[in-house]
């Protein structure tokens, strides 16, 4: 069991920067999920930790040990690959026992560990099969088993669920969470799926274009994103963004979004005072836009007139695709709402949960003003 530290880690492939000054402290026994869009450098980050890639600059530490120059086998880690990477010519038993045999464990110990792991994963009856005789879900379990039997200090998972169907994915997700509680070891888990990240992680690290964006607990990340990328990436459907401007009308501070205006709540005025007159980006999540009839009573509501473009009934909720001027946005409203395409309706914004981003300082990734 050990902590993991990325200390100013750079990874370049030629001129291409895959990891850009990554600093990340992962505590012992943490379940850290590294999440980001495809191609952002998640796998590279894992491979650098596993020792499969040399880092260009910086330091990677496992526990107190700097492992930059330590061979993969001596890092005491186990990795579950996205493609499972089972040894195709070996039985399930031999797949799991391979690493233990190489480490010259006694035979009885190997057998005990393999059987225990098979028990945990429910693949006891498959031990004599070859990988090609297994279903996708079973292969995935064998890949997990191969990691478990090693009893490593750190587990690395690279999108282990991406090849499973939706139902199996949800089941296995729960299983991996349980596994974490049971093994009580550091888990580092890579995924591009923010739902996976939100449901499994003790902390989430969001990464984009090789740059670490924010590291925090799922709830903090959802409530207080540091920048527009994180705000848009976490949550589904993603946050609505509107280009606008702060103005003053008498005592009130107003967000002017062109086709409509909303009042800034009393408690936030001071925070935004310095941005009055400046371009800003206003963000609000679909779940913070309500049908006034069913809106919770305690919110600071602002009413907005909109046209309904499309409605999507999801059963427990309704997605409304709304238009106002040249803004298109989504609302996630109470399923009792009765509206049709083309209707003109009034919705209420929960201004408590509004977000403001400042595009002037960094136009590519506006910072949240908090």
């Amino acid at each position: 069991m050990a902590s993991v530290t990325y200390d100013h880690v750079w990874k370049k492939f030629g001129d291409f920067v895959a990891l850009n000054d990554v600093n990340l402290d992962i505590e012992d026994r943490e379940f850290l999920v590294l999440v980001g869009p495809s191609g952002c450098g998640k796998t590279t980050a894992l491979r650098c930790l596993a020792g499969l890639e040399d880092i260009t600059d910086g330091e990677v530490r496992i526990g107190d040990q700097v492992v930059n120059d330590v061979a993969p086998k001596d890092r005491d880690i186990a990795m579950v690959f996205q493609s499972y990477a089972l040894y195709p010519h070996m039985t399930v038993y031999d797949n799991m026992a391979f690493g233990l045999k190489l480490r010259k464990l006694p035979k009885e110990e190997i057998q005990k560990r393999v059987e225990d792991a098979a028990e945990i994963l429910g693949i006891g009856q498959l031990l004599q099969r070859k990988p090609r005789e297994l279903s996708g879900g079973q292969r995935q379990r064998v890949a997990l088993g191969r990691a478990i039997v090693r009893e490593p200090k750190v587990f690395l998972f690279d999108e282990p669920l991406s090849n499973l169907d939706a139902k199996l994915r949800v089941q296995t997700r729960a299983q991996i969470s349980k596994l974490h509680q049971r093994l009580n070891t550091t888990f580092i888990y890579v995924t591009h799926d923010q739902t996976e990240a939100m449901t499994m992680a003790t902390r989430i690290a969001v990464i984009n274009k090789g740059i670490l964006q924010q590291v925090d607990t799922p709830q903090q990340l959802y409530d207080y994103p540091d920048n527009m990328f994180v705000a848009g990436f976490i949550g589904s459907p993603s946050m609505n963004f509107f280009n606008g401007k702060f103005t003053k009308e008498g005592d009130e501070m107003i967000v002017d979004l062109g086709s409509f205006k909303v009042k800034v709540p009393e408690n936030r005025k001071e925070l935004y005072e310095r941005l009055v007159g400046q371009e800003i980006i206003f963000g609000i999540r679909p779940e913070d836009i309500h049908n006034p009839e069913y809106a919770p009573p305690s919110i600071i509501a602002e009413e907005v007139e909109v046209d309904v473009d499309v409605t999507e009934l999801m059963g427990n909720e309704i997605f409304l695709y709304l238009v106002s001027g040249d803004h298109n946005f989504v609302a996630r409203v109470d399923p009792r709402t009765r509206v049709e395409m083309g209707d003109k309706i009034t919705v209420t914004f929960n201004m408590d949960n509004m977000h403001i981003f400042d595009p002037v300082a960094d136009p590519d990734n506006p910072v949240a003003i908090r």
Binding site: A50, L52, S83, A85, F98, L102, Q140
Partner: protein, 366 residues
């Protein structure tokens, strides 16, 4: 629409099968002829074709009729109730019961032969003597077409067979082993000069081996390797390595990277990865190259002649000599052909089952 597509498909299938059958017949008939000839007694080989061992109808002599001196052979002659002139008898006359009577020889012979058409070829006489003759090295005797006994020196194909084995088996295994190591290195290990070395090896593919024969021979003479098995093993290994390395490289580099990386993390060294993963996973490529290399060595005449020469004759050299000395003795040539063919056939058929597709199945992706 659907039916016409179906019938078109069926007719395509018909033509494919038809052509395949024709090709098989063109191949199989001569081989069958050689096989049968090699088992027939020498005297029969000299007097009739191999197909006569198959059941067929033939006019068999059943009787002879002599003409009494009292009969005038210039006039009409009556035999078995038929009257005809000498010329007609000489051409032959078929009786109502199917028998066929023909004058034998000239007029003064006064004899006719009676033939009857009968099924023959059911009690074929086959023998292994031809094989023992070509395999043996001592003097051999056999009968020619007239039944005279001929005595010759044998060609000792048995010894040549062992020599060919002694050339082909190490000559196949040595380059495959070296090439497999090299291919693994080129495909998966990083070392300086990797690309240049690999390019040189691939470039060597275009060098014809005939160019290298004489210089190598000169070196061998100097080193005392000429005529030794070690010499020819090295020569064949050298000539086979570029292709072997290239083919195995192509195969080994398609093994998914994650499998090897997984093994590295599991604690495997490069050598362990080679022996426990690369070799077992490359079996199809190893087997197919082994077949090619083995067949090429087994059938090789030129390299064996140059580097082994007279001292240790291989099958190809022994057969070539047989053709020179006993070119008319078909029973020996055909059995020699089969002696030289039998091992390649066995090798091909037994290694064929390693050409399995999808060995990598189940390793990556769900």
């Amino acid at each position: 629409m659907a039916t016409s597509a179906k019938s078109q498909k069926r007719s395509q299938q018909f033509w494919t099968n038809f052509i395949l059958i024709i090709i098989s017949i063109i191949w199989l008939v001569p081989i069958l002829g050689i096989l049968i000839t090699s088992f027939r007694p020498s005297q029969e080989v000299f007097t009739s074709g191999w197909w006569t061992i198959l059941p067929h109808k033939e006019n068999i002599e059943v009787d002879r009729i002599s003409i009494a001196d009292s009969v005038d052979v210039d006039g009409p002659i009556t035999i078995e109730g038929i009257t005809a002139t000498f010329d007609e008898w000489r051409t032959g006359i078929e009786l109502d019961d199917g028998r066929f009577i023909q004058w034998y020889g000239n007029k003064r012979n006064r004899e006719l032969v009676v033939y009857d058409e009968q099924w023959v070829g059911f009690n074929t006489d086959l023998t292994l003597k031809n094989y023992s003759d070509v395999i043996g090295g001592k003097t051999i005797t056999y009968k020619d077409g007239q039944g005279n006994t001929i005595t010759r020196y044998g060609n000792n194909l048995g010894g040549a067979f062992l020599n060919s084995l002694a050339v082909s088996i190490p000559g196949t295994i040595i380059p495959i082993l070296i090439a497999a190591f090299a291919a693994f290195g080129f495909a998966w290990l990083n070392f300086p000069g990797r690309n240049i070395l690999f390019t040189i090896i691939v470039a060597l593919l275009v060098v014809p081996l005939q160019i290298a024969l004489v210089p190598i021979l000169q070196d061998y003479v100097r080193m005392g390797l000429n005529g030794t098995f070690l010499g020819i093993w090295l020569a064949h290994a050298g000539f086979g390595l570029p292709l072997a390395t290239y083919l195995l490289f192509n195969y080994i580099s398609t093994i998914p990277r994650e499998i090897l990386e997984s093994a590295y993390i599991d604690g495997a060294s490069n050598f362990t990865i080679f022996t426990r993963l690369i070799l077992p996973l490359s079996v199809p490529a190893l087997a197919s190259f082994a077949i090619f290399q083995f067949l090429w060595l087994w059938n090789d005449y030129l390299v064996a002649l140059v580097f082994l020469g007279e001292k240790n004759k291989t099958v190809t050299i022994a057969v070539a000599e047989l053709v020179g000395e006993k070119g008319q003795d078909w029973q020996l040539m055909t059995s020699a052909a089969f002696v030289s063919m039998i091992l390649p056939l066995v090798v091909f058929l037994s290694l064929q089952r390693y050409f399995v597709r999808g060995l990598m199945a189940g390793s990556v992706k769900g």
